[in-house]
């Protein structure tokens, strides 16, 4: 396909997507399940893609995503609560120490920057080690940060273990779509750059990558910091979506969920992660809800259906994917205009992958 047609079709598709979201919001109503899924799905898509950059594209097994999201969410909330409302939010800390507010978009960027700074702090010592240790160290970091944020003495900044609230949120699903969309586009561009290729080389074979002159530590750190930046941005969006933030919600199970989304979508596929995010959120928030409701057919109660069954079914499905469908929905392929064009024209790219 020609570059110009590709650009035109791409622009058209993006416009259509936004129009679709806008329409869905109008037709289904802002409080409908559909809009919830769209909003949360877009946010999770960004976070899943950021995790995929690490786990799928650089081959680093990191489990710190919830920690970096927490940092992002708190950074956003702390710096955007209107000064006038701080007295009410920080009621136990005399209104807290931050007495100004940043514009929303700037605060989102700052959320990413702070998360990235923490990542550099953790990454510097740990990324020189074997990747197993990274998993446990990042998991540990997430736990530390969760404890530290709730520390009483930091209350004037973080409000201790109390909720942060009344900061600006978004009122349309277009907002998370736009922010997540831009971020994912940037990640895609990075992956397709020479740095992205270097990361993939590290994933495939560290020793060979090093022999090709690639500085392992520097590229791993780069990937880790960038991934955390976008996890931080994702955290800020999640804070906006929820309307309130509390550190205890960012448990390791949140990281596990995101990792499982990445696996379902396919390690090493951005489009897979995006697709899986919407699927995952739709299933857990909407389509499988009926499993949690005690249901009667006539007078007979349908067996098993009660609170919690949804998650059991859900985790069994995930285990099935992990065990029997290890490549996930997309494997390491991408959904792209070229691929579709090829499918339509029936032509195979010369030397197209065998699988």
């Amino acid at each position: 396909m020609k570059k110009s047609t590709k650009a035109a079709v791409g622009t058209l598709l993006v416009a259509a997507l936004f129009a679709g979201v806008w329409l869905a919001e109008r037709l289904a109503g802002a409080n409908s399940m559909l809009v919830t899924v769209l909003e949360k799905g877009a946010i999770y898509a960004l976070i899943a893609v950021s995790m995929n950059l690490l786990n799928g594209f650089t081959g680093l097994f990191s489990l710190g995503q919830a920690g970096f999201m927490l940092v992002g969410a708190y950074t956003y909330a702390i710096f955007t609560i209107p000064a006038a409302r701080r007295m009410a939010v920080y009621q136990y800390y005399q209104g807290g120490i931050v007495q100004f507010e940043l514009p929303c978009l700037l605060a989102i960027v700052l959320a990413g920057v702070v998360a990235a700074a923490f990542a550099a702090l953790v990454g510097l010592p740990v990324l020189r080690l074997k990747s197993d240790y990274l998993a446990i160290a990042t998991l540990g970091f997430a736990e530390i940060i969760r404890a530290v944020i709730q520390y009483d003495k930091l209350g004037p900044l973080t409000n201790g273990s109390n909720l942060l609230k009344t900061y600006p949120t978004f009122d349309t699903a277009l907002f998370p779509f736009a922010v997540a969309g831009v971020c994912i586009a940037v990640i895609l561009m990075l992956i397709h750059s020479t740095y992205g290729r270097a990361c993939k080389a590290i994933r495939d074979d560290e020793i060979a990558a090093e022999a090709m002159g690639i500085n392992l530590f520097r590229h791993k750190l780069l990937s880790f910091v960038i991934s955390s930046f976008f996890a931080g941005v994702g955290g800020a969006l999640l804070a906006m979506y929820q309307g309130t933030v509390q550190a205890n919600a960012f448990k390791s199970s949140m990281t596990y969920e995101i990792l499982l989304i990445v696996v379902i979508g396919g390690m090493g596929s951005v489009t897979g992660s995006v697709l899986a995010s919407f699927l995952f959120i739709a299933c857990s928030e909407w389509w499988l809800r009926f499993l949690d409701v005690e249901t009667f057919i006539g007078t007979v109660q349908v067996p098993l259906l009660r609170s919690g069954f949804r998650m059991v079914v859900f985790s069994v499905v995930i285990m099935a994917v992990v065990l029997f469908y290890r490549r996930g929905i997309m494997g390491d392929r991408e959904f792209s205009l070229d691929a579709i064009a090829r499918a339509f024209s029936g032509k195979k790219r010369k030397g197209a992958r065998a699988k």
């Binding site: 561009m189 750059s193 020479t194 290729r197 020793i207 090709m212 002159g213 500085n215 780069l222 065998a354």
Partner: protein
């Protein structure tokens, strides 16, 4: 002629096992030098020391004027050390990482092929152009470095053509036949723009005809890219045919050195290869 690579008194010991014992070698500019010896003699270990994968227990390795490794036994090794010259290389230790060494101009291939599995032949070579980049993550991500990106791609394609794999550019690297995978590894090494090329058993798994072609090919790339070549090889015909000099090692120790004809008739070499009747 200047010396490109100098290995001085290098001993490599893993715990109590001495893999390389007080080995000294040098490779001069423009030479093709072969390193031969029976299986387990320590040849690949020597390459791993030169490329920075291992840190020698003792000794010094220099590339041109630059010392890339310099070490003496420390810690537990002090007691275990069984080699010579333990006091010769005291003082500051030097250990450049493999990527730095590659950037200085030593490229290598691997005995047990190590291609990037999930990527095409072209991408495998393209990755090797990364080290000479001038872009940073920002300019690369935002594609401000389009000119450089184009140069990288051209260079990668040129290297594929050099090794005769241009037609397989889009194939998954690991789906290529064995002999082509070896050549792809050479293309990848060449793309890093080395001065010294280390080939670890380039002819392994090739048939006689391919081996012959390989000999001519090594000469050709040597002249074309003004390389110095240091190779480990078992195919004696190939070694005798293209080498200027040969080092023979056994049990980590040098047992002979010299021109092909000298080495061929050396009784110690024949003994090492055929075994000596000790009774």
């Amino acid at each position: 002629m200047s010396t490109v690579l100098r290995v001085k008194d290098v001993t490599m010991q893993f715990g109590g096992v001495v893999a390389i014992d007080n080995l000294s070698m040098h490779v001069d500019e423009g030479e093709i030098v072969a390193l031969i010896g029976p299986n387990g003699a320590g040849k690949t270990t020597a390459f791993n020391c030169i490329t920075g994968v291992y840190e020698p227990t003792n000794g010094e390795i220099a590339f041109g004027d630059c010392i890339i490794a310099r070490s003496h036994p420390t810690g537990k090794m002090k007691k275990l050390y069984a080699g010579a010259h333990a006091d010769k290389y005291l003082g500051a230790r030097v250990r450049l990482s493999p990527d730095k060494i590659t950037r200085l101009g030593i490229a290598r291939t691997f005995q047990n092929i190590r291609l990037f599995k999930s990527q095409t032949a072209f991408e495998n070579v393209l990755i090797a152009t990364h080290l000479r980049r001038t872009s940073n993550p920002f300019t690369a991500t935002l594609h401000i470095n389009a000119a450089e990106e184009r140069r990288m791609r051209e260079r990668a394609m040129e290297m594929l053509e050099t090794v005769g794999l241009a037609d397989s550019a889009g194939e998954l690297a690991t789906s290529l036949p064995y002999g082509q995978q070896r050549r792809l590894e050479i293309a990848r090494a060449l793309a890093t723009q080395p001065k010294l090329l280390l080939l670890d058993e380039p002819a392994a798994g090739m048939n006689p005809q391919e081996t012959d072609e390989l000999g001519a090919f090594i000469r050709e790339i040597k002249d074309r890219f003004q390389l110095t070549v240091f190779m480990i090889e078992h195919h004696m015909n190939l070694v005798m045919d293209i080498s200027d000099r040969i080092y023979v090692i056994d049990f980590g120790r040098q047992i002979a050195e010299g021109a092909p004809a000298e080495v061929r008739d050396n009784p110690a070499v024949i003994a090492a290869y055929l075994g000596v009747d000790e009774e």
